[in-house]
């Protein structure tokens, strides 16, 4: 497994931790993130020293642990839940739905869908204009302001990506929907996770 894929995997896992800890008190959340970061570091260090396959082992530990992560989160319930966390939780839920439900459904259903004859063509000029408009009005401004206003910027990016997905869906461009949705959700989750982590620790350079 390449270094790039391992890095991607670790980032995906970090995003997952950020999502399922959303809404928890900052201290409990930071403790969970720190503990899992430490675990990943120890695991990689041990795998390197004994020539193990860190990437595959990490993926296996990550995937098989997901149900327990959710169960752990449920067991902590609403303790310390504050109203300001509701928006963050809503964004997390959108990302989870996008990643866990919508994409596999799109991947399975879209290739078998019967495209309407009049819309079967590939990217026409109208779609190109629509996409450009969505990118200029929603996605680009979202990316530009996400560092300063993470929630607003994240929402703009997510809404823009949903619009683009809808456009591709309309044309039954299955791969477009899947790749765009996965990419957008992953990028948004990573940006938001990093910003949230920075804010949690009051350290702008971490």
């Amino acid at each position: 497994m390449s270094e790039f894929f391992t890095l991607l995997l670790r980032e995906a896992e970090s995003g997952w931790v950020w999502m399922y800890t959303a809404g928890m008190p900052d201290e409990a959340r930071a403790a969970r993130v720190d503990e899992l970061e430490s675990d990943a570091w120890e695991h990689e260090s041990e795998a390197n020293s004994r020539g193990g396959r860190f990437g595959f082992e990490f993926l296996q530990r990550f995937l098989f642990g997901m149900p327990a992560d959710v169960s752990w989160r449920v067991s902590h319930g609403r303790e310390g839940f504050e109203p300001r966390n509701w928006l963050e939780l809503l964004i997390s839920c959108l990302l989870v739905v996008g990643l866990v439900v919508a994409l596999p459904v799109a991947a399975v259903l879209l290739p078998h869908a019967n495209p309407p004859p009049s819309r079967q063509s590939t990217m026409g000029p109208l779609l190109a204009v629509d996409c450009l408009l969505v990118i200029l009005v929603l996605v680009l401004p979202g990316v530009l302001v996400i560092d300063r206003w993470p929630v607003a910027g994240g929402l703009l990016v997510i809404i823009g990506c949903l619009c683009l997905m809808a456009l591709f869906w309309w044309l039954r461009e299955a791969m477009g929907v899947i790749v765009l949705g996965a990419g957008a959700a992953a990028v948004s989750a990573l940006r938001l996770y990093r910003l949230s982590r920075d804010q949690d620790r009051h350290s702008p350079h971490r």
Binding site: S38, E42, H43, E46, Q60, R61, F64, G65, A68, D69
Partner: protein, 119 residues
Amino acid sequence: MQGRKPGLLPLELSILETGIAMRRDGWQEFHGFLAASHMRDAGEAKLLTARGTLYKALDRLQRRGFLASRWEDPDVALLEGRPRRRLYCITPAGEAAVNSARRAAATAPRSLQPGGTPL
């Protein structure tokens, strides 16, 4: 955890037994990954325990008072160039729970033990 039965799950028992064995070997405290790798090396698990499962079990044991934990001094971690560890140790209640689980296993009918003959 509320609503759970008082017994120990197999993984929880493994963690506590591993912690006790490690203490015999001179490790007064252990971190999550160390416990997972010891369990794998001791043959109690074929693979490293999944992260979510492991830390959920550690959290549950701590909430039940069978483990105590503290965060390592950040300077030590910084010096060694790694993230700081959360260190666990077995409490007297944890040891008592292991002993009680062992006693229960020893007195259980053969048919209820692993490999026992069904009645």
